[in-house]
Subunit: 305 residues, 2 copies
Amino acid sequence: MQPIIECVPNFSEGRDAPKIEAIENAIASADGAVVLHRTSDPDHNRSVITFAGPPEAVLEGAVRAAAAAAKLIDLRVHKGVHPRLGALDVLPFVPVRGATLEDCITLAHRAGERIWRELSVPVYLYEAAARQPTRQRLENVRRGEFEEIREAALVDKSRQPDIGGPALHPTAGAVIVGARRFLIAFNINLQTSDLQIAKDVARAIRTSSGGLPAVKALGLPLVSRNLVQVSMNLTDFQLTGLYAVYNEVERHAAQHGIGIAGTELIGLMPRAAIEEAAASFLKLESFDSQRIVENRIESVVESGK
Amino acid sequence: MQPIIECVPNFSEGRDAPKIEAIENAIASADGAVVLHRTSDPDHNRSVITFAGPPEAVLEGAVRAAAAAAKLIDLRVHKGVHPRLGALDVLPFVPVRGATLEDCITLAHRAGERIWRELSVPVYLYEAAARQPTRQRLENVRRGEFEEIREAALVDKSRQPDIGGPALHPTAGAVIVGARRFLIAFNINLQTSDLQIAKDVARAIRTSSGGLPAVKALGLPLVSRNLVQVSMNLTDFQLTGLYAVYNEVERHAAQHGIGIAGTELIGLMPRAAIEEAAASFLKLESFDSQRIVENRIESVVESGK
């Protein structure tokens, strides 16, 4: 099956509907790029578009997004409560299927080169695509925002872009381009109103306190339902998937004599995550994705009848 | 997402590779019809091709299959141990996604009308597409095979085709066209070598002895692994799915103090079956298939960007 990459550009425009539409249309004009979701926040004065497709389609969509943002957004007059450095502010590439994080790092670097060469907008590289360790964290890159960084970059080597520059683009600033894994937001509700139990279970399972790898977890109250929740981010579902966290939460909750009331998925997840969960719960021996009729049809169609 | 139908034509040719290829190519020549699998048995002198696609593509593929079989196969000289009535012998339509059994009955009737009108091969209707209750069972339709039925149909109304006839086609016989649900073949291996336990569990869960609806089950030995197996056919996975049978087998086996060693899927299953299993095991509240990135991409692409 052909690889699919997701890309989640964040723009510094959350109020002017025609401009937001124009940026979305620029992305969708790339052949094969499919827009999945869009949110705009007028207080942040920022929009987030989620789109996906084969790698070359996503690369083209990302560059067109940068071009449209640079043309339509002037950071000198932009106001909003969310920090920002660029018209197209953040541009992460995320593997969904048939692609690795390394593929997304390569795509991020290619996008960065094209954005500088074609648009004269310089690029900082963050998260897995960072070339400088301190730039793995987005907040380090964006500290001081557009207004401070455009001055600092002229004189301070440590604040200069990774690609292009050193001066920022006068109206579009810079784009912060990166690569990260797909993040699954998954919550498990426990059959109790005792918040301490949710906090204990969250602590037991999260990576930061010695639990499962690639899991962030918090215990939260669900007041309206008189339940508590273990709210999780799975930052690498191929390392720790839905089956593993479900079992581990169930086991720790059972030590408090508490069962699972239900679970919820926030946003989307890749097909591989749900297939892995089903195969694990079912103890399926030698399962592979090609045992699913629709996957098989796709493979045959793509390999040419 | 666009509907997908599976079609599983059975042909009376299992030895002559160029003829079998030609029939497969005739199916694949229908735009949108995708061949997923083919098996040929020289003793049965019979081949089974599994193909799938949108309803109109599958209808066209089925008629082309019938035409190629009628042209290439002469039942007067056909020998094989498997009973048969036609060159294209059996033609079931099966809903995979976005289509109901009723849609497949309609498709079966349309295929039957076209096969008679365009090829002068008469048609019997069986299983859910039967117009006569006794013809729901394939064995009732095919009793006596080509040699007896071609005589009987001339004189006995109860043996005449549902569409066309009454005489059978002199060389191609008749096609037995039907509709049925997707059948999932799923086996659960138990952590014991005691065959009686597998038989007891199979009896407890199968429909015929008052267990779960739409489940056929047998207890079998797995000699090579020193285990026993509950071997099942799920004849309507939307009524009783993988989650339900897994849980029920687990519960009954536990009453004998026995656990599940592993499971296996024979052949293919629809995507809806594995998504339902994962969502049920995970206790996902308000899950729907559009929460999966790839499904969402497909829907957006199909509804037009």
